[in-house]
Symmetry: C2
Subunit: 478 residues, 2 copies
């Protein structure tokens, strides 16, 4: 059994905006378009999500740094493709106090041009590499499109970007694979399904050799890019003079990669697992994992409350984040409503019968199932967390797969896109044909599927009917 997902499915955009406000994630009333305020509850989720990516990156030997937000125009403009890709969407700082600045400053839209002048100072020899560093902070984009909380922002407050340098192209290629493994683990732990595509050349990161992207699919059938991994080859190292002495004693330009995620991770976490009652959080990143609600009964009030706090303490001892909602003037029903909206994975109720019989009533947020267990068997809650995670993951993957249509005709592709499906088809690999596909179906060619793709052997291109080379994914995107 699950709660309804009617509004979620049929009116997703409204559901999403509503839940972000009512669950206390963001306040969208900040007086500048595209800028939002993280509210305490939202901030706590954000903190757990950033701690999760940190944990994984640390394990893969990445070190954390923090660079300035301001980049001088002189550095920013060095890499031709890069400036071309970003010049329409950067904020310019032109004045300090009442003075006009000699060198204008850019609010970083991403930090290649901040990191790489320092890389040039840090890297001397092949022994200094691989260099793997990351930071978490704000980046800025002057978005002219429609802005959306957590999805399309003018200040992306949760931008995790990693930058690496390597002594060979092969090692940079290995790093691309490592980055993909990192993001797979990260999204898997958040129960977020994804496809992994190599973006077509006309849609790669400005300055990259190639771009690999993770996309998920939202309930409205549009895909959301949730992570990108770029092999920069020597494009930036040549611009920023990042050279090293190789094992032969010769100077060589470093090989680089970079990869990033953003607030969109949290958008996905909210969007993919919710229902008409609100959020459903994966236990690992839920600020409160168990909320305990006393069901007071006449003369037993104090004892029941006391029991609730005992249970809370015991839960905390076994590493579970628990909270007792003992607010006086609010009825249990109203409390249930509020915690369901906020997506707390498990609710424990303790009423007079539980009190007498030393039991607790456990209610799962995902299935709304209620069971009574012995109050001494709290370890079972961990099993329930595991089941919730598994259930959320399975459900999200099923939804994801249901939204994908396999198509071998361009008209059919167009029809599927209209029906809010994501399309998989075969492609010849020619840029001209690829752009024609995009025009015909009025959607984006997300790229060549890198994992779980079918063999293109003997298949025809969905558009030109020539020999197919790759399986591609096509979708309307955010």
């Amino acid at each position: 059994m699950h709660a309804k997902r009617e509004k979620w499915a049929n009116n997703f955009s409204e559901w999403f905006n509503e839940v972000i406000e009512t669950a206390g994630i963001l306040d969208v009333r900040y007086p500048v378009k595209g800028l939002y305020v993280w509210l305490p509850y939202g901030f706590k989720i954000r903190r757990l999500v950033t701690e999760l990516i940190r944990e994984i990156l640390y394990r893969y030997d990445h070190e954390e740094v923090l660079f300035p937000i301001l980049i001088p125009e002189t550095e920013f403009a060095k890499e031709a493709q890069h400036i071309k890709g970003f010049e329409d969407q950067v904020y310019w700082v032109t004045h300090g106090g009442l003075d006009e600045l000699n060198v204008k400053l850019v609010l970083r839209p991403t930090s290649e041009t901040a990191f790489y002048p320092m890389f040039a100072l840090w890297i001397r020899s092949h022994a200094d590499m691989p260099l793997k560093i990351f930071q978490i902070g704000s980046v800025f984009r002057y978005e002219t499109k429609h802005t959306r909380p957590l999805i399309r922002l003018r200040e992306i407050t949760t931008f995790k970007e990693a930058h690496t340098a390597h002594a060979s192209y092969e090692d940079a290629e290995r790093q691309v694979k490592e980055a993909i493994a990192i993001y797979k683990e990260f999204f898997d732990r958040l129960a977020i399904p994804y496809s992994i595509c190599r973006r077509p050349d006309w849609d790669k990161f400005p300055g990259a050799e190639y771009t690999v992207a993770f996309d998920t699919i939202f309930p409205d059938g549009r895909t959301l890019q949730i992570a990108t991994v770029h092999n920069l080859a020597q494009n930036f190292s040549k611009t920023f003079e990042i050279t090293f002495e190789n094992i032969k004693g010769e100077q060589e330009y470093a090989y680089q990669t970079c990869y990033g995620i953003s607030d969109r991770v949290i958008a996905s976490l909210i969007a993919l697992h919710g229902d008409d009652r609100g959020l459903i959080l994966v236990p690992e990143v839920s600020p409160i994992q168990v909320v305990i609600v006393p069901i007071w009964y006449k003369d037993k009030k104090e004892e029941i409350t006391e029991r609730c706090f005992e249970i809370k303490e015991k839960l905390e001892k076994i590493g579970i984040r628990a909270h007792v909602d003992d607010r006086e003037k609010i009825r249990p029903g109203a409390k249930f409503y509020e915690w369901e909206l906020k997506g707390i994975p498990v609710r424990i109720e303790i009423g007079p019968k539980d009190f007498e019989e030393n039991t607790i009533t456990v209610c799962r947020r995902d299935t709304l199932e209620k069971i009574r267990i012995n109050a001494d068997e709290l370890e079972k809650i961990k099993d329930i967390f595991a089941e919730i995670y598994k259930n959320l993951k399975n459900r999200a993957h099923e939804e994801f797969n249901k939204r994908i249509s396999f198509v071998d005709d361009i008209e059919e592709a167009k029809k599927c896109i209209k029906e809010k499906k994501v399309v998989r088809a075969f492609w010849c690999g020619e840029e001209e044909c690829g752009k024609e596909i995009e025009d015909k179906v009025e959607a984006s060619l997300l790229g060549i599927l890198l994992e779980g793709s079918r063999s293109a052997e003997g298949m025809k291109c969905v558009n030109c009917k020539k020999e197919a080379k790759y399986e591609i994914q096509i979708a309307r995107t955010y």
Copy 2:
């Protein structure tokens, strides 16, 4: 016994800049004046320090939020004193892409004008208060003075600001006291000595009713403001229309406070406890608390290394952050040098004799004392941490007290300031006289001492010789 503090004492500025670079705290070569890069080791210290202030603020029921970095000119300019105080030192964003913005944006120099329009939306009734929130993030100041790493920055990357609202002036006053208690605990745990002064009216925060400041004293005799607490009374609530229904059912303007700390905390941590060998970190915020260095000896190499990792595991089990430095090509002496520079509080050496006799050799960074203890008594390391903390705290307090001169004559005050002392004296309380004092001694009147001050009863003003009202502190400041 302690290592020498000659350079530290006599050439502090050079010592400070050097240690920040060589210990891996910041890279100062970022190509914009006043902006620096947090290196991995510095970032780890920063993370522990921010986690410490978080822990304390959470305990005092503060909730964490995150506001945008950009503030529209329309909000920023609303409070007259505030804009006057900051207009010379804010960065202006005037363009987005190739467009000129309709409303210019300020890079926040502090966030009152970002928070308070939202407070006006959040606060309806006395029941919504006290509202106590904080954030940690970057603020920007277009500094025209000489910039210095961690001390005077154009991007202050570690700005913790708390903002509160209250239903009565008394409750705001109580909050000021709470904020002072919070910072006292924070600085005490970092073993940083401080004085607490109420700033003179001509030096208060722009828009505040009054400002309380924490100052520490650097080895060069200059004071550094390390925290401020402001009672804003109703100044901002009147500007931003933050009203509430009070218990009588009438509309009233909220009473507000705000308080902040910055990167200067980390500057002080480094500056006050160091010596000529480098940093000495308080164990609580040391990224590595114990570094274990194997002293390899002929055929015992593998066993000794193995023993080191066993000790590391055991230390981690009792909650100590430990690291084994088993780098092959570096001699133990070079390792000692490096970890001393980085300020790791305890080094453990394990050599062949230790291996045979199941002992470890423990070396304290603060005193350089070496003792051998049984390898099964690792809990003792915690006692050593406590001793190190106590020793650092006592030493810093002694230094602090030694730098203060009690003076009752203005010429003597001037002489003391020239001799790099901080001066304490009595004052009549008149603004004109106070400014005269500042002119005569060529230093700043930091304000009225709020804690540990002597009684002014029967005393004369150091300058005008009229009846004294307060004990004040005078110093050259950063």
